[in-house]
């Protein structure tokens, strides 16, 4: 709104402050810290084990993070508004069970089942958004409730049964194609495309600007003519839509409809968002940072496993990383005030 951009080339005593150099802009970008972290981790594992630095292994890591990654895109949008979504994993699990069950028992053609499942997830997001905005209720409580609702519905609808022998279209995104000597999963491309799409929308559209404005201050955003109510509800619905796509990716990755799925994915997605440098207080962060965050988790899990380190240490290290990331966010907030 009050962008005071000095035209490039203008010589002013404050030119250095107002028009940062490319290098400085790179160094101060919110994704720089996480990116450095990721690169350091990669370097460390490349030295530690000779199986880490291969195309096949990187393809594997991306494939392993595509489900939580897609959830984390939705989670980022909500956290940018200073909200939180605890229901994402459970909503995804319900979507995946719906798609798997309806397609496997022939109630609906596979593609219709997929569309319906994704739509239902978007519906869950919409209800979350309405409750948060219209009543209004704190996002934490709304999504905590929805977590239980979706979890219970998953188990009631699935009858606790894992659904196997799924029709081809459901697992198509889990198939691979060769790129050079590396097998790439189609689902990985879907996730990467979604990250790029949302990154573009957040930084290059007025919708994206409004999301950040809303996260900084809902009142200020409203006074500036942004229809904050519609915007908030829309963000939760878009997040729900993304959870629906994650549901399809989940089915394609594991090849089954699993009612136990996604139980820790809400916290895993928040972890990725925080590691990616997005502030839990809203208004600061990016989905590309989240992509880096989700890769950090995937790289540590894979790298430590290749080194033969027991999985409990992966949990330990992820915990330490998260605390470090929020500490950094908090300190930088205080300083930039």
């Amino acid at each position: 709104m009050t962008a005071t951009t000095t035209p490039p080339g203008t010589s002013s005593p404050y030119a250095d402050l107002k028009a940062p150099t490319t290098l400085r802009r790179l160094l101060t970008a919110p994704t720089t810290g996480p990116l450095v972290a990721l690169l350091l981790a990669c370097a460390f594992f490349s030295i530690s084990t000779d199986q880490f630095l291969t195309g096949g292994n990187f393809s594997l890591i991306v494939q392993q993070v595509m489900v939580v990654g897609t959830l984390a895109i939705g989670q980022t949008l909500i956290i940018l508004t200073a909200g939180i979504d605890l229901s994402c994993g459970a909503v995804m699990a319900f979507g995946s069970i719906m798609i798997a069950k309806m397609a496997a028992n022939g109630t609906l053609p596979p593609l219709v089942a997929i569309a319906l499942g994704i739509a239902v997830c978007a519906g869950f997001g919409l209800v979350n958004g309405l409750l948060v905005q219209k009543i209004p209720l704190p996002p934490f409580i709304v999504t905590l409730g929805m977590l239980n609702v979706a979890f219970a519905l998953t188990h009631i609808y699935s009858n606790e049964q894992t659904i196997t022998s799924l029709p081809g279209p459901l697992t198509a995104l889990g198939q691979t194609f060769p790129l050079g000597h590396t097998d790439i999963t189609y689902g990985s491309l879907v996730t990467i495309a979604l990250f790029l799409l949302l990154a573009y929308a957040l930084s290059n559209t007025s919708w994206g600007r409004h999301v950040y404005a809303l996260g900084n201050s809902q009142e200020a955003a409203r006074l500036n003519g942004i229809r904050t109510s519609r915007l908030t509800i829309g963000i939760y619905a878009v997040a729900g839509l993304l959870y629906g796509i994650a549901a399809l990716l989940l089915i394609s990755r594991t090849g089954v409809g699993d009612p136990q799925a996604g139980q820790t994915d809400n916290l895993d997605s928040i972890t990725a968002v925080v590691l990616g440098g997005t502030s839990l207080f809203g208004g600061r962060g990016s989905v590309l940072g989240t992509f880096i965050g989700v890769l950090i988790v995937g790289v540590f899990r894979n790298g430590l496993q290749l080194m033969g380190v027991a999985s409990i240490y992966q949990t330990l290290i992820t915990g330490v990383l998260v605390i470090l990331a929020v500490t950094v966010d908090q300190i930088s907030r205080k300083k930039s005030r």
């Binding site: 292994n57 089954v256 136990q260 894979n302 409990i312 950094v328």
Partner: protein, 338 residues
């Protein structure tokens, strides 16, 4: 606003990660010395994937695998789901272990059906996959199964209970696991078969998830429903100890017979203390040790283990009954897990 303060977060983050990398190194060095890459690069790699990292049953399993791996000069890699039922976590572990070049994977599947596609992918790459403790569905999805015969484990305590009741009319309560879980169903049915009863003879059947607090609640409710229960079958010893607490509150702990399955150390001690009459003890350490041996032998001579191997159970009690083979708690405590 000033540029120096805006710079610091990224630097801080970078510094933070260097610290974590160092932590990772330390964790590797102290956590599992046998798996440092320089020492293990030429040796046979064996993967062990358990349901969780925290259940003592799986801790013992890991211990058995580590011992066997050391003896055979193999390198053991371990992983676990985050919670019981975490299929995605186990799938990821399988993929990473295959990427690490393991010769074989030993797994206790969290979801017997859902794990099958990932197991098939690993086997297609020439990895020997052995299920420990819990079969896959179908059982033939893995190369081999090393597990307790849970029906037999149930039968043993059923026979023991029959002998110990000495012809008294039994009012039976069963504290079970959860609906549809094969381990629980097999033990329950085995107990009834061994006792010579059917589900119609059970006065009160409740699910406990094998949890002590839930076992206590279940027993309290059963006593409410049917105060003259005099025989209690439990899925495991935590449930049995929960039942004991409920019975003691009613002053009934002396005249009710509690029998169980599992053979954990706490449970075996409870048998010694007379809280539980008898338990069928199983051997997770042996499952894992045999599994590691099978993978090493496959790596050396290409011979794959196949079919089902019963890793055995023993009835543990200090009040032996004529006609029912049993071992005393001294033996039980020497061989218990957890």
């Amino acid at each position: 606003m000033s540029r120096t303060t805006r710079l610091s977060p990224s630097l801080l983050r970078a510094a933070a990660v260097t610290g974590v990398a160092a932590l990772a190194l330390t964790a590797c060095g102290s956590g599992s010395g046998s798996s440092s890459t320089s020492a293990g690069s030429g040796s046979i790699k064996v993967g062990l994937i358990t349901k969780t990292d925290t259940n003592p049953f799986f801790v013992k399993m890991k211990e058995g695998a580590e011992k066997a791996a050391k003896a055979d000069g193999a390198q053991l890699m371990t992983a676990a789901g985050k919670f019981d039922g975490d299929n995605a976590g186990q799938v990821t572990a399988i993929e990473n272990m295959v990427a690490a070049g393991v010769k074989g994977i030993l797994i206790t599947p969290s979801d017997s059906k859902a794990i099958v596609p990932a197991v098939q992918k690993a086997r297609a790459k020439g990895v020997l996959v052995i299920a420990l403790d819990t079969p896959t569905d179908p059982q033939s999805a893995v190369d081999a199964l090393f597990a307790t015969n849970n029906l037999n484990a149930g039968k043993l305590i059923g026979q023991y209970a029959k002998a110990a009741m000495k012809g008294k009319t039994a009012k039976i309560a069963t504290l079970d696991l959860a609906p549809g879980v094969s381990v629980g169903v097999l033990r329950h049915n085995g107990f009834l078969q061994g006792f010579g009863a059917t589900d119609k003879d059970v006065a009160c059947a409740q699910d406990t998830g094998g949890d002590q607090a839930k076992g206590q609640t279940a027993m309290e409710n059963c006593l409410q429903k049917n105060p003259d229960i005099n025989l209690v079958y439990t899925i495991n010893e935590p449930a049995a100890l929960g039942a004991y607490t409920a019975l003691k509150a009613k002053g009934r702990e002396k005249d009710v017979l509690i029998v169980s399955v599992d053979g954990g150390c706490t449970g075996t001690q409870a048998v010694k203390d007379g809280k539980i009459a008898a338990t069928s003890q199983q051997y997770p350490l042996k499952m894992a040790a045999e599994g590691v041996k099978a993978v090493v032998s496959y790596a050396k001579n290409g011979k794959k283990a196949s079919g089902y191997t019963d890793t055995g159970v023993n009835l543990i009690t200090d009040k032996a009954q004529a006609g029912v083979t049993s071992k005393d708690t001294a033996f039980g405590l020497q061989n218990c897990w957890g």
